[in-house]
Symmetry: C2
Subunit: 219 residues, 2 copies
């Protein structure tokens, strides 16, 4: 079975919003896809007919087994390409998302398998997100939200919760990236901001909003 780029993007968006379990609303999907609710409804009917999801009107949507399989295949391609761009072609980790959005729709199965082998079957992409293997299985990473990290435990930034330009700009300014080692010096309960320290730098504070999208691996 072959699917259009639009169809694949809907499946991917549902997968991300569904986040393991739960049902996804038309409005949330429209926001995620930068489109309108009416367009989403049309597409849901189409994807239901193709048995990629279960959908009853006004009741939200949820991927079928087939749909999840497709979503995982797309996520796999996206993350493998991101790994390739950063690891092989020396892109910065913050400039690969848009390119991978295009590359993830290249259909050749053989290409994906050969690419995976060439890269050495990586388990995590440059943002720290796990790469599904050819059966759709992903490694689980023992990562923790920065908000939840204990004080004075050294940890390494392993993932960021979004790839928005705004976030990447802020991270660049604060000099935080994947692999950055830091520890928490203080937590302020008033606004839930936290003071962090990166080796050889002065401590500084970051907002709750920022801490919530940073994931770290305890070392």
């Amino acid at each position: 079975m072959n699917f259009s780029v639009t169809e694949e993007n809907h499946i991917k968006a549902i997968f991300h919003l569904q986040q393991g379990e739960g049902t996804v609303s038309t409005n949330d999907l429209a926001a995620e896809l930068h489109t309108k609710a009416a367009s989403v409804t049309d597409m849901l009917k189409k994807l239901k007919a193709k048995k990629l999801l279960s959908y009853e009107r006004y009741k939200g949507v949820r991927l079928s087994v087939e749909g999840k399989k497709l979503a995982l295949a797309i996520v796999r391609k996206h993350r493998l390409w991101e790994y390739f761009l950063v690891d092989t072609l020396q892109f910065g980790w913050d400039e690969v998302h848009e390119v991978a959005e295009e590359l993830e729709h290249i259909s050749s199965k053989k290409l994906v398998e050969k690419l995976d082998a060439f890269l050495g079957y990586p388990k995590f992409d440059p943002h720290g997100d796990p790469i599904p293997d050819s059966h759709g299985k992903m490694a689980v990473q023992q990562q923790v939200n920065l908000i939840d990290l204990a004080i004075n435990k050294t940890a390494e930034v392993s993932a960021v919760g979004s790839q928005s330009t705004e976030l990447l700009e802020l991270l660049k300014h604060k000099n935080i990236g994947i692999g950055t080692r830091l520890e928490i010096k203080k937590k302020f309960s008033f606004d839930h901001s936290i003071e962090i320290k990166i080796k050889n730098q002065n401590a500084f504070t970051i907002s709750q909003q920022l801490a919530q999208v940073l994931f770290v691996k305890i070392i």
Copy 2:
């Protein structure tokens, strides 16, 4: 400026049929693109409006300077990806065409330049065709049509004139590929078939049609 896959495919087809100079007919384009003449006419009007080509109804079409630039950029991407697939990912040279047809439409300029650098700025793709550089310049290869090769001169197959499944099947059966060394033993003027000999194999004859799509480099 950004163009759709369909628009790019039309530009590429015109470029190939134009072959340096001359004007291209609607019917030839329709055949090349596996579409209908009426559809081509519609697209030509659109591409003319975008100033990629000059076109007067009933008079054929020819690429503008802008159009040629776009065509060369697409050809560059196609051939770089083919090189990558064969050289880096270990694809067979006869199984990369379809995948490259998809990859050539990925838009990121930075990706192309980084890929080119990673591959070491190759000058020829796995089929022996020259890869345009970032300014659109291609190396000229001293290759000759097999039909024109002198008798008893050893030569190496450097390019094939088409990537059709039918041709590739025949080449596989005859055990001919890029890099194959051979010499011509006899030319038969009756049907213009030629008898060729590959080292350690018995001589055999190939048809004019086949010889005409094989290009060789004299060693």
